[in-house]
């Protein structure tokens, strides 16, 4: 039995390795703010959400599959949270049943496993009831498959068989064990056997039947003999105890998987609720193949900014129209960094199967998102800063693959403009040649102007706007790079002016 709510045909791997550069990515995109909204105080939700976000999927089919499941969740939040709770409670209940002292005896393993199974069976029966009541209200392929599986696998007949085994495993009539002669003629290959039929079983019990049989009776005072007897008994039930304990583990991992896969959607529900409370829009994006290099969005905003500021924020419209390079210039504090974050977050959210923070969005999938941001710290070590930047870029180029998205924010501003521009130009050209999409926020006019003047560069130029009175709109619009940025304006705004 599988949950299969994240993939149509396989489990979600919550323990998968994060892609390289993920620490920088998370901090540059302020991913924590989004994760906190999804977690709503629950560390488990947070862990699953972060894995789903940074380890996104690249095929549009899986993205659509998750979007459909999430639409069901948005329509039936109470039922989905109920199922999540069933899984959580089953997992907790198992934890509370003590293992006993782990002696060299399978007996306690057998007893404990039977006890846990009893609990799990109860939980599974509840799950069946929820299925019977609500399955009809769900339309996504993911949930429809899930409910059909529950109905089929967990039939009343099946529960009857399980109950009868749980009874039989108490071994009221003793145990029947077969063995052979192994090393040094010692008994080996102990296998617990089902007595052939009731009459034979009874014959075993009362000691009649097959004439060529011999009996050993251990006297009450023979302690070593009783230890040996219990050792034989243990060898006999060892395999069954193991089978039972492993069955417990399998059912437990079913509940864990169910919990894990639902956790992503619960997280998405939480974040969706928070944004809705702020009056912010959310939409299901349209994922398109990597080759299109598309990003077409209206009202694209930074959900982390909205969540942190607890207010609706300005969105942007953008259409790269297949151009792999976007260069963003313009006024300080004009919304460039916010825009860059909104692009990165939308990419991650889309590829996790979530909604995105926009009124509409259509974008290419890609194998990875990387960030190269100017680091504010250790500003005093100017001589080492360029080294540090180059080292980070070298790291990225070691891992980035075609179709990936690279977000650069004021990269190579740690040296003079000519040098920085030259370095950046070489790098960007090489990356474009490798079919990597680059969004570059920069004050390096030499860099921006160079690409602008080059008709073969196929770049989109966006500029942070300011109104004639000098105020920022926090909106970006297409526009050629201008030689000055507007630091003076900010200065004026902060320190006041004439």
């Amino acid at each position: 039995m599988k949950a299969y709510l994240m993939h149509a045909d396989r489990d979600f791997d919550a323990g998968q390795e994060f892609p390289p550069g993920v620490e920088a990515l998370a901090s540059d995109l302020e991913l924590n703010t989004l994760l906190n909204a999804m977690a709503d105080g629950d560390e488990f939700l947070r862990d699953v959400a972060s894995t789903a976000l940074v380890c996104g999927v690249t095929d549009p089919e899986t993205i659509t599959y998750r979007q459909q499941v999430l639409r069901d969740c948005l329509a039936q939040p109470a039922v989905v949270r109920d199922i999540y709770e069933i899984a959580v409670r089953a997992i907790l209940a198992e934890k509370r049943i003590w293992w006993g002292l782990m002696a060299k005896d399978p007996e306690p393993i057998l007893r404990r496993s039977a006890q846990v199974l009893q609990l799990f069976v109860t939980a599974l029966k509840v799950l069946r009831r929820v299925t019977d009541t609500h399955a009809g209200e769900f339309g996504s392929p993911g949930f429809r498959r899930f409910f059909a599986m529950i109905a089929e696998e967990l039939s009343d007949d099946y529960f009857g068989i399980v109950d009868s085994h749980l009874k039989r495993l108490k071994f009221a009539g003793g145990v029947l064990v077969s063995a052979g002669l192994g090393e040094g003629n010692a008994g080996t290959g102990y296998v617990l056997r089902t007595p052939r039929d009731r009459r034979r079983g009874l014959a075993e019990v009362i000691g009649v039947g097959n004439r060529s049989a011999y009996t050993i009776t251990i006297s009450d005072r023979d302690e070593a003999g009783h230890a040996a007897l219990s050792d034989l008994h243990g060898r006999g039930i060892n395999h069954v105890a193991n089978a039972l304990a492993q069955s417990v583990d399998h059912i437990l991992s079913f509940f864990r998987l169910l919990r894990t896969e639902l956790a992503f959607y619960i997280g998405a529900l939480n974040a969706h609720g928070r944004l809705a409370d702020l009056g912010e829009p959310a939409c299901f994006p349209v994922p398109v193949p990597q080759a299109e290099a598309a990003l077409q969005a209206t009202g694209l905003y930074d959900p982390c900014l909205a969540l942190a500021a607890e207010t609706a924020v300005v969105g942007n419209d953008v259409d790269t129209d297949g151009r792999p390079l976007v260069i963003i210039t313009g006024a300080n504090q004009g919304g460039k960094s916010t825009f860059l974050r909104s692009v990165g977050l939308a990419q991650l959210m889309m590829q996790s199967g979530m909604f995105v923070a926009a009124t509409a969005l259509r974008a290419s999938v890609g194998p990875g998102v990387f960030t190269h941001y100017k680091r504010e710290e250790d500003a005093t070590m100017t001589s080492g800063k360029l080294d540090e930047e180059l080292a980070r870029m070298s790291d990225i180029t070691g891992h980035i693959t075609p179709g990936s998205l690279l977000l650069c924010n004021e990269s190579f501003a740690s040296t003079n403009e000519r040098e920085g521009s030259q370095i950046a130009r070489e790098i960007v050209r090489a990356l474009l040649g490798a079919r990597i999409r680059v969004f570059f926020v920069t004050h390096l006019h030499d860099l921006a102007r160079g690409f602008y003047a080059d008709p073969t560069s196929h770049a989109l130029f966006l500029r942070a706007q300011r109104q004639p009175d000098g105020r920022r709109t926090f909106r970006l619009a297409e526009g050629e790079p201008l030689p000055t940025s507007h630091g003076q304006d900010v200065y004026q705004e902060v320190f006041g002016g004439p």
Binding site: V177, T188, T194, S212, Y214, L232, D249
Partner: protein, 513 residues
Amino acid sequence: MPQAFRSVLFGDTPAPAGLDSRPEPAFFHDLNLDQVTESVTVALGDYQLKPFFYAPLDDPDAVRYRHEVFRDLDGTAVAERVTAFAAGMRRMRQHLATAQQLHHPLQQQRWFLEAVAAYCDATARLARDLDGTAVTSRGLREFRAYLAGYVRSDGFTSLAAENAELLRELSGIRYCLHIKGNRIRVRRYDAEDDYGREVLAVFEKFRQAAVKDYRIRFHAHQDMNHVEADVLRLVAKLYPDVFAAVASYCDARRGYLDDVIARFDREVQFYLGYLAYIRPIRAAGLEFCYPAVSARSRHVHASATFDLALAAKLADDGAPVVTNDFRLDGAERILVVTGPNQGGKTTLARTFGQLHHLARLGCPVPGRDAALFLCDEVFTHFEKEEDLATLSGKLRDDLVRFRGILDRATARSVIVMNEIFTSTTLDDALFLGQEMLEKIIGIGALGVCVTFLDELATLDAACVSMVATVAADNPAERTYQVVRKPADGLAYAIAIAAKYGLTYDQLRGRVRS
């Protein structure tokens, strides 16, 4: 009758008398050959191989006899087969030892059967394997012929066939225990179903990825408790014919082990152990060769050679090993090695000694190619670690040891001297060094002399000067290259001056006149 065969180490020659009680030769420690021997034999303890490393050969043909066997075993095909045979023989010995420790006859008999099975298996398989394998050495060809006859003999074939049949019958026995309360009923098994499988099938639908194994590890105590022994006794009563046949076989086959095969099993480990020891060194890119070994020619040489013990350690650490060449031509007899400390001088001296001992063991030696002298004895004179309070006492001790060497050394000996007379005055050291060297030259022995005295390098036509070198651009860096060139104690000083731009030429260029 199988063809006669004696020894894969000594051919038809009887092994040296008292071989197994030989002590470690005096020079082993100084040349670090004790480390080599220890490493070779540590995993092969039960074969008692060390005496073979202490017993040199004195006939070039006996050396070639071993070279041939080494070459046969120095590839995967033959070595793997012999190794498999050895593993079988080791299992056999373990089974016999187990049988001896046990008390229940029904158990002892089973272990004896297993021991014979391991022996028959290993022997028959080796015969089969060698039959289809190209071997060219006298040693292995003759052993193969012996083995082929042995495994065809009636004694062996019946030993194996009866053994297999008895084991087959024993392992076919199945019985059932019904345990309830304090009673165990024992009877034959009657094809009842596996209940564990039933349980697994019920919960199969929940199967996810692999899970933990909860089976308790029940230790297979080789000695049974009395309940197990009772059960076994009753199982024997359920199957009386099988157990009677086993008992009479064990009685009749006590002396099954063939002496020639047992001896081969031990002796061939000398070859396999040494080859296993040098394998990682070779993997690190270093070469070994079969030296031309002569009892007459003193024109010895080796190229790309190295200290075996040191290379084993460095290869283990993944560190690079520097190789060196040496050569004695015409009247040359002694390598006089000078140069900076820690420059590889002692290592070269050890290498020279090691190669000559390994050569007379018939082993492949470190180096790309080599010609070595089949010496009668190796002597070493290394400075003793313990530093006596009085210098005169130490000097005396040194000379006494020297005297002992000179008394025993012959024109066929190899003498290795390392940093002698360092704790005396320069004049004394020079005087004594020249005296000692002249005596050795007088005897006509081959040798190496590591010294700080440049003068010794030109003492006599028998001396060859070799110098440990440093990197030209950084005199602090040792190259561990020891090359044949005139001794020049000033070279190091000039190099270190160059680093600071203070040579004559540099100063002329920099300082404006």
